[in-house]
Each structure stands twice: as structure tokens, then as C-alpha cells.
Symmetry: C2
Subunit: 155 residues, 2 copies
């Protein structure tokens, strides 16, 4: 089944290169950016300012080759890409939780952002703790992995 | 920017109609289903069984007209679709957190599933508490809304 999507906006961040961007926004809660939603979709933002956290779904538009099992940034063992948040994945969609700082019309100011500047935005959804917060969830193979520098040359 | 996606599998659930499906999986934690990943992507599942919770990204393939601000299932006031989890949204992607019960090859047995039977699967990502669990997040306009029956005829 083939599906055609259109970007609904663009994400602006301080990160111009993969080397600059954090492994995950949770590792850089201070990193701020803006989410510019196309003006035609502004009515879809009604009441978004009542939420403190949002999901962004976006396109990894500068991702490399899809390899189904490969090492990640967090460690050197291969893991399936559906068992990691690796950007080089079938369909190339990314998912991040960000904090909403404020809204100015069709611009959302956010923090804890980890994507590359100019990333195409596909969807915004409110983060709703009742549906989305599972403190009992296992960290799986990521348990105990320390934050580290991205290994040089690794996608 | 136009993006073409292909489904990577199919989600099987007990819910044949919109009336049968729960408003969110969190309201039906006992509801079980299976996620059938296309055999060609089986290597991408390596180590997925180390996680207890997964994100599923899927296509709302039976959603109706996109109206940018509209009432939801939870209350009768209009909210922007980017401020709700409404299925009728630009790009028509859904996002759910499910519990992984077990893996059998390229079949994932999951619980807390809320989608219609036969829904096309777009991506699977591990739910990682460090990145995804924000107990302090505001419930926004959904705060204090009780679980209720879906209003008849409402999409």
C-alpha cells in the first residue's frame, strides 16, 4: 500500500549538521527551536497552547541508506531499526517529544528539540499523559547506556 | 514537499468498526491484537523483544473528511486536530503506545491496541522512558474529561 504525504510545515533548530544535533532531545532539554506550521493549517492549532508537551512527527530528509539492523549512537552492537530510533529506517519518519514554550500564531516555540534545521514536519499531536506516559516501561537494550559522543562517521 | 510511504505490515485487532474501537488504547488495556510485519523487514525487529512498550505509527485508512478544528470523542467542543488525536487529520497518521506481550518471528502480540482491524502499519519504534515518559506533562484541554461512549455518528 502506497501513501503520499505532504509536509505541513518546517522545523527550525540550531543544528545544521548531524554532528551538532543531540542523540535525543531528552539529552538537550535546553535546546530551543521553532515549529513553523504552514499558514493554511493554523486553525488546526486551536487549543494546542493548553498542552505542555507535544509529539512531532517529521521526515528524516537527510538520512542515509536503510540497513535493517545496525549499530546506533548509543552503543556499538547492532539492533533492528524498529528496535531503535535510528534515522535510517523504512519510511524515514522521526518522532520526538518536545516541550511547548509558547505559541505565536502558526509558530510554536519548543524546547528539547533534536532534529536538523529545516526538517519537514508531517504531524503534531498533543502528548497526553493518560495515553502516553508509562513509567513502568522497560528501557530494553538501552538500559544502562550512558550518554556519549556520537561515534565519528556513524549515521 | 511530497513524500511517498509504503506500509511495512498490517495490524490485526478485534475492532471491525469505528463504533467498536476504543477512544484510546489506554482505555482498553486488555484489548489484544497482533502486528504482522512484512517478512522482508523481519531483521529490523532484532532485539525488539527487550522492550515492554512500543510506538506504532499507522495510517488511518478509513478516516473521513479532514476538518481542521472539530469536536472529538472526549468532549463536544471543537479543538484543532493538531491539538487532538483525531483520526481525520492532514497526512492521516496515527500514533499509539502498546504493550508488547511476545514476539513470534515477524508477528508481535500486543495489548492496549485501539486501531481498526486491517490498519496499515507505517513504523514501529521502541518506547524508551528516558525519551518518552513525562509525568509532569499537562493534560491540556483533556484534563478532567471522563471516559464516555463515543457520541453516535461522530467521526
Amino acid at each position: 500500500m502506497e501513501i503520499t504525504l505532504h509536509s505541513i510545515g518546517i522545523i527550525h533548530t540550531p543544528f545544521r549538521t548531524k554532528e551538532e544535533s543531540p542523540i535525543q532531545g531528552a539529552f538537550r532539554p535546553d535546546a530551543e527551536g521553532t515549529v513553523e506550521v504552514c499558514a493554511e493549517y493554523a486553525p488546526a492549532l486551536q487549543d494546542i497552547e493548553t498542552f505542555s508537551h507535544l509529539y512531532l512527527i517529521y521526515r528524516f530528509d537527510r538520512a542515509g541508506e536503510v540497513i535493517l539492523s545496525r549499530p546506533t549512537f548509543l552503543d556499538d552492537e547492532p539492533h533492528g531499526v524498529f528496535a531503535s530510533r535510528h534515522p535510517c529506517r523504512p519510511n524515514g519518519l522521526g518522532l520526538s517529544v518536545v516541550r511547548l514554550l509558547r505559541r505565536e500564531g502558526n509558530i510554536l516555540h519548543v524546547a528539547g528539540i533534536d532534529v536538523l534545521d529545516g526538517t519537514p514536519l508531517i504531524d503534531i499531536k498533543p502528548y497526553i499523559p493518560l495515553f502516553d506516559c508509562y513509567p513502568e516501561a522497560s528501557a530494553g537494550w538501552t538500559a544502562g547506556k550512558e550518554l556519549r559522543q556520537k561515534p565519528p562517521g556513524r549515521e
